[in-house]
Symmetry: C2
Subunit: 326 residues, 2 copies
């Protein structure tokens, strides 16, 4: 009998042991952490009125500024500019416009002056006219060596460790975690599985026009110039509805580009959690919100709290920022 | 010791018992069935050179004519025509065009004469100007009572039993099964989970324009007039690449609308299986291929076998056709 009891104790410890491990070690012991854990406990407790069946446990997160950094400019734009530089090194005649010349010179201020048109030109020149496979191989090469101008870290080391832990925690609790980002879907898929544990089919983003054609006798999907869908603002709920077909239970973002996605999620029936990552940490990262040239956050701060959204204060709520800076 | 041996035998039987159950009971004992099982055995055997890691086991199938019937016209068009009839009953003034009048009269021949334009008008009139939720509730109501004109079966009883078994078998072998169909994504999601075991996020199809707006104070995704993407022909590989981000291992279809999808799949590196459901059974279903007004199949029959595609002969290879006719 004693042996049986010992065996049972071992069994109980072994099967429930995971509950004793801290799921969010890089979150400080603040209200944000408490609220997240209480929410997850509620939706996963079969005896709770907040219980959500596993197949409906959908969690969506923006990428730039929510799961990894986005300053001084979106990392995908840095990739594009670096790629123009490479192209110009091989063949300077490709620099046929002011926008491409600004990119080759690494002059982001001049690019910004050219507005959306200039940026689209740089994106088209670097993101189209080649197969998805070629494009992704090129992004992978870039990620291997490129370093961020101020942190000196590789870009895929600039993921936010607390958010990486949150994604993993949610998956352990049978959530399906998705990225829903204004960033390019083909770009993000190069690193998201390794960096976040999110497979290609759970990454939703903006995308270019594509064509299916024979290239050197091989059927190939080719990225064409032109952006077919911008996965930002109202485009986010539209795309989630179109691709996932379920209203999420959790939505997280950091800018007003995420407002519609979080609004739609938290207006749903049943329990839901809206989360805003507020960039408050000027020492360990960059402090910015409503006046920022990138990741502007005004509405979310003003209206989010009244809708029950959790505003995460990076300086207070996170004990670590970058995964690569642990 | 004897007890231990008995225990081991029980354990072995319990854990491997599933392998003894016939995974494809409605497939006749023909080469098609043998090839499918041999292929699945190869890609799931870790010691085989054909082994595919579970996360890459993606199987995509067309819906109309592949997983359920499509004669005498696509069932979604029958839904649209029935809905115009309902609308006209409530308010005859909605019949503002010849196309809508033909639909209200159930005159498919007149509709066909009006061509794509007439059909799009009927689709727009019935599929837009309301929320996705409203639309799907309406489709669900229709499915509950509507009967097919020749079989008398409910439409969701006209799924092909052998294909339902194939989907289930593939999932048991850790494949992720997807629908990739020219049919509307919102339409298919109403019944696909129940009928095929395929959840909303694994259904890819054509889709209308959508908007995100406030309706009666609630954030709502609304279906708008206009078709934003036609998930047919070259659109299928483009959409698979965009939404799944992996080249499938198995692709099945029944018409030349599926040719590009199967071609792209079977041109991939590593093991792959292309499958065409050939409608050969004029007694139990409808026999049609190259000359058909719907689900036309010429290229697949002519070029598929040379590319190693499995041409399934419904009359010979399937012992049962409809799920509802078992």
């Amino acid at each position: 009998m004693k042996q049986l009891i010992n065996l049972s104790a071992t069994f109980i410890f072994a099967t429930t042991g995971i509950a004793f491990a801290d799921p969010l070690p890089s979150w400080a012991d603040t209200e944000a952490r408490t609220r997240i854990i209480a929410f997850v406990d509620g939706v996963t407790d079969a005896s709770s009125e907040d219980y959500v069946t596993p197949s409906d446990r959908i969690a969506v997160f923006d990428n730039d500024g929510t799961l990894w950094g986005e300053q001084p400019v979106y990392f995908q734009l840095i990739y594009a500019v670096d790629t123009v530089k490479e192209m110009a090194k091989n063949d300077p005649s490709v620099l046929t416009s002011d926008a491409l010349k600004a990119a080759a010179a690494g002059d982001f201020a001049a690019l910004a002056k050219g507005g959306l048109e200039a940026i689209l030109e740089v994106i088209n020149a670097t993101h189209s006219g080649r197969s998805v496979d070629d494009f992704q191989a090129n992004v992978a090469d870039w990620l291997e060596t490129a370093k961020h101008p101020t942190t000196g870290l590789g870009y895929d080391q600039m993921t936010y460790q607390p958010m990486v832990e949150l994604l993993s925690y949610l998956r352990d609790e049978d959530f399906k975690t998705y990225i829903v980002s204004g960033g390019g879907v083909h770009f993000m898929r190069v690193f998201a599985e390794r960096a976040y544990g999110i497979p290609p089919e759970q990454i939703i983003g903006s995308y270019s026009d594509s064509s299916y054609k024979m290239v050197d006798g091989e059927p190939t999907v080719v990225k064409e110039p032109g952006i077919a869908f911008v996965d930002d603002k109202e485009g986010k709920p539209v795309n989630i509805e179109r691709i996932i077909g379920k209203r999420p239970v959790i939505a997280g973002g950091n800018s007003d580009g995420d407002f519609a996605m979080i609004e739609w999620t938290t207006a749903g029936k049943g329990p839901h959690l809206g989360l805003i990552v507020h960039h408050t940490d000027g020492e360990r990262e960059v402090a910015y919100d409503c006046d920022s040239h990138i990741g502007q956050l005004c509405d979310g701060l003003e209206k989010g709290p009244d809708m029950g959204w959790l505003i995460v204060d990076m300086a207070k709520d996170w004990s670590v920022i970058y995964t690569g800076a642990r």
